[in-house]
Structures are given as structure tokens and as C-alpha cells.
């Protein structure tokens, strides 16, 4: 086939370029991901008692996971473009991490020295990261699928962003089932679970994001 014929073929009736393609691909998958992780958390681990919602703990988790999800989604959307500009979303991601870190540090400092290990480890530190990772898997599949339909030219970085996004959505769902109260616990173990999902995404990226 002649290249001019192909150009004619492509241009005929092409209409305007589609708009908001990143949002249109990512947002439905994020919605599915968060529903899957919430449903999974409630079905497998059971909901937290209603009284806990009177404490700041679940709200801190929602805010942290939600903030990370938003920043990671922004980053993933940018990495879905052939010449990605990542500075602003990376800054947002860093800002959320720093805010959580400072909150955890502040809470730790006002805790008596003898109670600090328990404050960080809680009663479920060894299960939390694995649970977050497990709950993030549907969202990871969805996010990778969404990115594959865009044009990521840096598949490992795009996979990492998809993984962080999925991890944050997994953490959001897990917040409904996690009875830990300490911000330091969230800063360490939630973040570890989200990071594991990010590593998994980065490992899968070059394989899953071919287009």
C-alpha cells in the first residue's frame, strides 16, 4: 500500500481529535478498582465497628489513600502520553507522602517513648501490606489495561504509576476493614503495601503496556 493512500484513508472523515482520552480510560477503571477493593475488604476482613468513624483514624486513611490515588492517577495519565511531563504530578505525589510523614512523626513525638513501638507496629503490621497489595490487584489489572490503550513510551515508569494508583485504591478499600488507630501505622505499613503494588506494576509494565 502506498503511504499516500494510507494518509488519505486516515484523514477521510477523521473529525476532531478525541478529547480527555486519559480521563475517559482511567476513571472508569479507577471506579471499578475501588469498588472491587472495598467489596473485597468487607467480604474478606469484615467492616470496622461504626464507633471507629468517630475517631480521626479512618478519615486519615481515606485522605491519605485518596490523595495518593489522585496524584498517582495524574502521573499515570501523563505517562500515557508519548512525551510525558511528569514534574507536577510527581510533586503532588511527594506532597501527599510528606504530609502523611509529618502527621505520623508529630503523632509519634507526642506518644510516650515506651509506647512508640506498639504505636508503629499496631496489632496487624505483618498482614497490612499484604492485604493492601492483594486488594489492589483488580485495580492494577484495570489501570494497566487503561494505560495500554493510551500511548506510554516509558512502560516501566507507566507501570509504576499504575501500580501506585492501584495500591492507593487497594489501601482505600482496606481502610474500611482496618481497625488500627495510629497515623504512624498508616504511614509505614499502608505505604509499604502501596509501594509493593508499585513495584509489581513496574515489573509488569514492559510486558503489559505494549501497543
Amino acid at each position: 500500500m502506498k503511504t499516500n493512500e494510507l494518509i488519505d484513508f486516515l484523514a477521510t472523515g477523521a473529525g476532531p481529535a478525541p478529547r480527555w482520552v486519559e480521563a475517559r480510560r482511567l476513571l472508569p477503571m479507577m471506579a471499578l478498582g475501588v469498588v472491587a477493593s472495598a467489596a473485597g475488604a468487607l467480604a474478606i476482613f469484615g467492616p470496622i465497628p461504626a464507633e471507629i468513624f468517630a475517631t480521626p483514624a479512618p478519615w486519615i486513611k481515606f485522605a491519605y489513600a485518596g490523595g495518593l490515588a489522585a496524584a498517582a492517577a495524574w502521573l499515570a495519565a501523563r505517562l500515557g502520553r508519548p512525551v510525558p511531563r511528569t514534574r507536577a504530578p510527581l510533586r503532588a505525589l511527594l506532597l501527599v507522602l510528606m504530609a502523611m510523614g509529618l502527621l505520623a512523626l508529630g503523632a509519634l513525638l507526642v506518644t510516650p517513648a515506651g509506647e512508640r513501638p506498639a504505636f508503629v507496629l499496631g496489632h496487624s503490621w505483618s498482614r497490612c501490606p499484604v492485604n493492601v497489595l492483594a486488594l489492589s490487584l483488580p485495580a492494577l489489572a484495570g489501570a494497566l489495561w487503561a494505560l495500554r490503550g493510551l500511548a506510554p513510551t516509558r512502560p516501566r515508569a507507566a507501570g509504576l504509576a499504575a501500580g501506585l494508583l492501584a495500591g492507593a485504591l487497594g489501601a482505600l478499600g482496606y481502610s474500611l476493614a482496618c481497625t488500627e488507630l495510629s497515623p504512624a501505622f498508616v504511614a509505614v505499613w499502608y505505604s509499604l503495601g502501596i509501594a509493593l503494588a508499585g513495584i509489581l506494576g513496574a515489573a509488569l509494565g514492559p510486558w503489559a503496556l505494549r501497543w
Binding site: 478529547r19 482520552v21 502520553r81
Partner: protein
């Protein structure tokens, strides 16, 4: 004193304005922008594919298909040719990967500047045939593509003639081209 404008700057400025109109839906501008880009892609890929000269035009066409399918991901703060060449580079790496990385090890032997490369006289042509590829698409996609892309009907006209809704037709055309791009990639 005026600053000297190179031919490259003029090319970019022209392409940028064509592309802006094309993105807004100007078909003639889109056709011309794709022609400019094809030339740019050809010279970019030619010097990187000296070991695979027969496949140069195939990859130019694969890249054009990807550009068309992904034009929604164009970021207006990035020069069009930079965006297009990023896609071409990705497609080139993808080709190397499919070839088992052998070619990736070959540095271009005589790294001539793009303008020193021998000009190709005949009309650039790939090894595949559009009609043959189209025949492999599902019937509904073939039908929509035949009406809109080959007969040149508007979406509204095609919708009226077939009784299929405009949005369904658009989806069929888009899916068809996507499928076509996959076929092109697989046979490459």
C-alpha cells in the same frame, strides 16, 4: 538584527499550525499534516533502519496509524514533531524487540546526515496491501470503514443510509483502524 530562521523552524511552524487545525477537525489540514509528518518520520527512521531498508515504509505506516489512533494523547505544550518522533522511536524499539534485539546491536554503519541520504524517487510503498488487511476485519467494521473511509460519506449520511447510529458507526471505524494497526504490527 534579525535572527536567522532555519528551514527546520519553518517546517515546524507550518506543521504546528496544520496540526492545530487538524485536531479541531479540519480534514484537509489533517491530510497535509500527516503528509509532512510522513516525510519527517521517513528521514528519522531511515537513518536508524539501514539494516532493514525493506521495512522502512512499513514502519512509517505503522507509526502513522499509531499517530492517528493516539492523536487524543497529543499535548499542545509539546512540538508536534517531537510527539510524533517519540511514537516512531517507540515503534522502532518495538520492532527491534520483535526481531529478537539483533538489530539493536547494529550501530548505523555510515551515519549520514538525513539530507545526505539518497532520495527515493518512486512513491513510497509498504509491503502490505490495505484491501487485503481490511478483508480480515469483522464485517461490521469493514462495512463502517467502507462507507466512511472509502466512499467518503459523512457520519450523518452513512447513518441515514444504514440506520446505524452515528456513535455506533464512529466506534466501528475506530475499532476497525485499531484492529488494522494490530494486523500491521503483527505482519511487520
Amino acid at each position: 538584527m534579525t535572527t536567522q530562521r532555519s528551514p527546520m523552524d519553518d517546517f515546524e511552524a507550518k506543521l504546528q499550525s496544520l496540526w492545530g487545525r487538524a485536531q479541531a477537525g479540519d480534514e484537509a489540514a489533517y491530510r497535509e499534516a500527516l503528509s509532512c509528518l510522513a516525510e519527517r518520520l521517513r528521514s528519522f527512521l531511515r537513518r536508524r533502519m539501514q539494516s532493514l531498508p525493506d521495512e522502512l515504509e512499513d514502519l512509517v505506516q505503522e507509526t502513522l496509524l499509531a499517530i492517528h489512533l493516539q492523536r487524543g494523547t497529543y499535548d499542545p505544550t509539546v512540538p508536534v514533531s517531537r510527539w510524533a518522533l517519540a511514537i516512531a522511536r517507540y515503534k522502532l524499539i518495538d520492532l527491534w524487540r520483535r526481531r529478537g534485539r539483533r538489530e539493536a546491536l547494529h550501530e548505523p554503519f555510515d551515519d549520514l546526515a538525513e539530507r545526505d541520504q539518497p532520495a527515493v524517487r518512486e512513491e513510497p510503498m509498504a509491503q502490505r496491501d490495505l484491501t487485503t488487511l481490511l478483508a480480515e476485519l469483522p464485517k461490521a467494521q469493514q462495512h463502517a470503514i467502507a462507507l466512511i473511509k472509502l466512499e467518503g460519506l459523512s457520519i450523518a449520511e452513512a447513518s441515514q443510509r444504514t440506520g446505524i447510529s452515528a456513535s455506533a458507526l464512529k466506534v466501528q471505524v475506530h475499532r476497525g483502524i485499531k484492529r488494522l494497526a494490530e494486523l500491521v504490527r503483527r505482519t511487520g
